[in-house]
Amino acid sequence: MQEAMIKRAKELLADGTVNRVMGWKKGEFAYDITPAVFDTAEELEQDFVCDDLTQANVSKYLIKESRKEGRILAFLKPCDTYSFNQLIKEHRIIRENVYVIGIPGGPKIDVEKIKAKGITGILSVKNEDYTLKIETIYGTETMPFYEAISGKCESCKSKKHVVYDELMGEEGDVLDSNRFDMVEKLENMTAQERYDFWRGELSKCIRCNACRNVCPACTCESCVFDNPASGISQKAAADSFEENMFHIIRAFHVAGRCTDCGECSRVCPQNIPLHLLNRKFIKDINSLYGEYQAGADTTSRAPLTDYKADDCEPSVVHERGAE
């Protein structure tokens, strides 16, 4: 696929359809891949990469890139197209300035999962018939491909591209995913258990803001947490309350707009399952206000900017029974 992508990108550069290519750049090892903009065919040949380890969702970069001169080519995985579409809906990306090629999605490999197996010194990772062959400085290691699948791909919601100008590979379908399983599991716990679970997770937070900054739905010019006039600007979680506050508000601010792309959990240096907070909102919205998938279209009203006269009362929460 990578070769075909480079070839197509070069063609589109050559015929003037686009003047830049948004893609990913090789790093020092197999896995340290950086989103990058390529200007020339030479750069593409040299550094462009799109393989099993290329996870980053590049749609947020297109906000800035689509405001520059000329048109940019973007390769979007199915999940990325939802983010892209949501940004179109919010008038953040100038659609005409982006040429979208839909590419097949994952499952992608998360190197953290390889490292969690105690494999260190990783130099290269190859998928040979669903067995990963990992070259390390200490010799060759193997592990099953499926044990290294990134968290966001484990519960893939759709292999369908919701927006594209052309497609490479075959189009997939919206999947019947298991993505709410963990949310449900937590819902079935007692309040004390849930509290302990989230304290354990959120107390790990170092307030690096990676989850916020990587999020394609977090596109405010100035974030409420950076604004001293908001009364809640925080630089560090000086108290457990502030950890809760930050994560509740972060998730709330993208409720109804979060496409569940999973970037927040992917980038968290402390491996906090932040996507569960977003999924809780998605699950609630689906069950209380009807199925809604952010980014699936560009015209519908988002659940939090919409209402029905016979919406349920907040007492549904209190009626859930014993805690």
């Binding site: 980053a56 953290e112 260190t120 010194g121 130099l123 400085i137 307030r207 690096c208």
Partner: protein, 339 residues
């Protein structure tokens, strides 16, 4: 050399913890280690390093500086400082051990930061030699020998035993205090293990990295380099690199109104944040390019300029492993290198 059998390590921990607070790295999840206050029965992590660095022990993410009581037009300042309790950090790696001497250069230079010094005075650092470095390691580039770490006491493992080498007065005292757990041991196997580790270190993928192109005298040539635009283009402006970095020491000072008094605290800050240098009348670093440049210029040029050529990086590799977009000091050094 004095040693203790690996199987008896927890006995030693129990004895230390009886006298003072002991912190050891423990696994939270596989390959995700963090320092925890030792409680009987905990197992020391075998991971190469902790996700967060050990700088927290001396420079915590947040700490209160002072308290104020405001009544009408009058203000009362309360000095809340207290003498710290003695503590031991066990299992610090060579890179983090070096980071303390870098932090010392900032916080112990005049005027001395009493908050930092207080913790430093009361902390004993027991380091652990590396035997299985990762691909992201490049401490040797900064003159660190991971097989012989600095610290108050260095500990070396040959797989079966832990050997103790005291390096400072504090270290000697520490070893003396646990003397009855230690016995004289044969270090022949240890020498073998060290030799093996050194041969791996020589072959690490980043071992060839050179600092020759950097230093205090390379100010304007690097500052004005055209490479910064490309290097910083993907940076999302988060603080991951800063907060996992053992040497990043920038901080913010803020006030918190508790409703019955004001607490002035300081917390880690990141030069990657957009409001880092923002003033009422403007911001000298308007885009992520300038902020990104600041971080690497600080480590590779500004810090050595002010500290006799010592770089502000210890090659621990945390930013390589954790950056959301995998842009890091190694890529910057390679791009800016003058061949």
């Amino acid at each position: 050399m004095l040693k203790i059998a690996a199987s008896r390590l927890n006995e030693l921990f129990d004895a230390i913890a009886e006298k003072q607070t002991l912190y050891i790295p423990v696994d939270r999840e596989p390959n995700t280690a963090e320092y925890k206050k030792y409680e009987s029965g905990m197992t020391m992590s075998s991971a190469l390093n902790t996700v967060r660095s050990a700088k927290d022990f001396f420079f915590p993410q947040t700490e209160n500086l002072a308290e104020f009581k405001v009544e009408g037009k009058s203000i009362e300042v309360k000095d809340i400082r207290q003498e710290n309790e003695d503590f031991v950090v066990f299992g610090v790696r060579a890179c983090d051990a070096r980071s303390f001497s870098i932090l010392d250069k900032v916080f112990l230079s005049e005027p001395v930061d009493s908050f930092y010094k207080n913790r430093r005075d009361h902390g004993t650092i027991v380091t652990m030699a590396c035997t299985k470095p990762a691909e992201t390691c490049f401490c040797t580039v900064f003159g660190i020998d991971p097989t012989v770490p600095e610290g108050d006491v260095s500990v070396f493992s040959d797989g079966e035993n832990y050997f103790f080498l005291d390096r400072t007065e504090k270290g000697t005292e520490f070893v003396k205090s646990v003397e009855n757990f230690l016995e004289e041991g044969d270090a022949a196997k240890l020498a073998q293990v060290q030799e093996q580790a050194r041969s791996v270190i020589k072959k690490l993928p980043l071992a060839g990295l050179s600092t020759d192109s950097f230093g205090g005298d390379k100010l304007n040539e690097h500052f004005n380099s055209e490479k910064w635009a490309e290097l910083s283009e993907a940076c999302i402006g988060c603080g991951t690199c800063t907060f996992v970095c053992p040497t990043c020491q920038c901080y913010d000072i803020r006030d918190f109104d508790t409703g019955h008094g004001i607490k002035r605290f300081r917390c880690w800050d990141s030069c990657m944040y957009s409001d880092f240098t923002k003033m009422a009348h403007g911001n000298p670093r308007t885009s992520q390019l300038e902020r990104f440049r600041q971080r690497f210029m600080h480590k590779l040029v500004y810090f050595p300029a002010n500290n006799d050529g010592e770089f502000g990086c210890v090659g621990c590799g945390r930013c390589l492993a954790k950056c959301p977009i995998s842009m890091n000091i190694v890529k910057v050094m390679k791009a800016l290198e003058v061949k």
